[in-house]
Subunit: 343 residues, 2 copies
């Protein structure tokens, strides 16, 4: 099918070894033969087979990406998809392809680690996983270079979005608009949620404000229906909040729906904020006030770090790379409405 090194060597009238060395810049090959090999290789469109090469040198220039989310949204996930895109672009720029690591749920199922070894990936990036899953911890404590995103694991490199700073900034912005009764619909229980929740609570506390228990609702990430329900719950409180922070932008759509259902206007009657900074939603009206996570830099940094860990394992140290968030002041957080909320 493809032209092999054997055919190339025959075309050059040289041995296989010489051809290989000419292509790999070995010193013990004359300049003219190197040129000859280079030229005929280009003419024949020769490329060394990645699998044969990989078998020999123990490197495949393939990066594993372990990504699985509850909502099965995959590439359509509006926070992780752009991260994956940035990761992929950066990896490709450095000569790596990517392979998605899964269970291969059907006939021959394998663990994540087995899949990585099976495909001989040089390293793996773990995104949005159940980090408590024993298969994931197996992989994390396995032999491969690993970079995680938004989750720290003992002695492993991690790229994290600065959720503490982001949530603090958002809360302060809302406070600056005069709000005091701010509710927060968190996502599921996990590391990111914890950081955001404590950051929110701390900022409120520093402002001398109390957050009643009913204002803090555990919901689900990336799940508009759940947010809708939680919002409806908040709206039915005797003293309802004047602003609600949603778990994420996508969930916020559900929240907005509940508010419409209740016949209220945003932001005149109640304010709403999201989290993520989903690009497409910034083009919609009302334009969501939210916190943009820098998915481009996150994905890029992860790929870069992983490649470093692979290519310079001695000199590269494990580290936590923090990528700052930025406030996107849209139109859904307004000043506090004059009239007190209804009973």
């Amino acid at each position: 099918m493809a032209v092999t090194i054997k055919e190339l060597s025959a075309a050059c009238g040289l041995s296989i070894s010489t051809v290989s060395k000419a292509l790999n810049d070995y010193p013990d090959v004359s300049a003219e033969t190197r040129e000859l090999v280079r030229a005929t290789a280009a003419k024949l469109g020769y490329r060394p087979s990645a699998i044969a090469r990989g078998l020999k040198i123990g490197r495949t220039f393939n990066l594993g990406v372990l990504y699985s989310d509850d909502s099965e949204s995959g590439f359509t996930h509006n926070y992780f998809a752009p991260i994956l895109e940035a990761f992929k672009s950066e990896a490709e720029r450095r000569g790596y392809d990517i392979t998605f690591i899964t269970h291969h749920t059907d006939h021959n199922s394998m663990t994540y680690l087995q899949h990585c070894l099976y495909r001989n990936v040089d390293g793996v990036c773990i995104v949005n996983c159940h980090f408590a899953d024993p298969e994931v911890t197996d992989l994390l404590s396995g032999p491969l270079p690993v970079v995680t995103i938004d989750h720290m694991f003992h002695n492993r490199s991690c790229v994290e979005s600065e959720n503490r700073q982001g949530m603090t900034q958002l809360t302060q912005y809302i406070l600056s608009k005069g709000h005091t009764r701010i509710a927060y619909i968190c996502g599921d229980e996990n590391a990111v949620t914890n950081i955001r929740r404590t950051s929110f609570l701390r900022t409120m506390q520093e402002a001398g404000l109390h957050v009643p228990q009913q204002y803090l609702i555990a919901s689900r990430y990336h799940h508009p229906a759940a947010a809708r329900e939680a919002t409806a719950q908040l709206l039915s409180l005797p003293e309802r909040p004047t602003c609600i922070i949603m778990a994420d932008d996508y969930a916020a759509l559900g929240g907005l729906e509940a508010i419409r259902d209740a016949g209220l206007r945003v932001p005149q009657d109640i304010s709403v904020a999201g989290y993520d900074g989903v690009a497409i939603l910034q083009m919609c009206r009302p334009q969501l006030t939210t916190v943009r996570q820098d998915t481009q830099r996150i994905g890029q940094a992860a790929a870069r770090k992983l490649v470093h860990l692979i290519e310079q394992p001695r000199t590269t140290f494990q580290e936590i790379i923090s990528i700052p968030c930025s406030l996107l002041p849209g139109g859904t957080v307004g000043p506090v409405p004059d009239q007190p909320s209804s009973i």
Copy 2:
């Protein structure tokens, strides 16, 4: 690193050949040794290396995906991302991983075909490409099994979204609302655009309606700014349309913005329709009237067809698989406004 067949054979006290045969269900190995091998393989977590295996048997169980769009949106593209997701899921269910085919723009750049051969993919799915690109036609006429999406190529299998039916249905729906002055902002010139445009024009013609030349604007796909400009142009016409069909949902956001800029309301003053049926936008308000393309079925059918072409090359024939679209009647197409348009 990973346990090899050599170590496994040592652990079993058998030769490499016997172990391999035991795992591959060869008849000339006793039931008890087969069980022994199976058991120890499971205990050691042995998996044959995909690259070693691929090198020998000439199959990698890897599918190439050639995907490149002008807007560089990658995984965040809201029509192609769900197709890729469905394709990937179906491929994985059948034991295949996927590899994205690119130029590897940096140090060592190669053609698409070279990249496919370099990675030894068993087949390739081509999505959203410049099908006129010589590199793409090279690949299309190359030795590998190929499935294309939304673009027919001589003697190759293709999965296409039924744009003719979809656009006809949309136009008829708009007509049923009483509109007669309907404008269409097309995407870039390509096969899909042609089908949609002729389908639109034919439906209008069958309804006995004339479409003035100014009502047909060539714009860009997936480009809100371009749609915004085109819409502004339409709105400034002496006799402006009462309904505008946008190239796609994403572009429609730009169109809606231009309409807001002009101080008009949707759908009271003017109606708008999109195309694609982007899921997240169906949760926003106004809810876009649009045509849903069945990305799930498209991606799944493509993967299925490709795997068939690979696994049963003799009995599988080239074919065109059409996936129907469905109308999503949102809230952006209303009845024709009473008053004649301004000026």
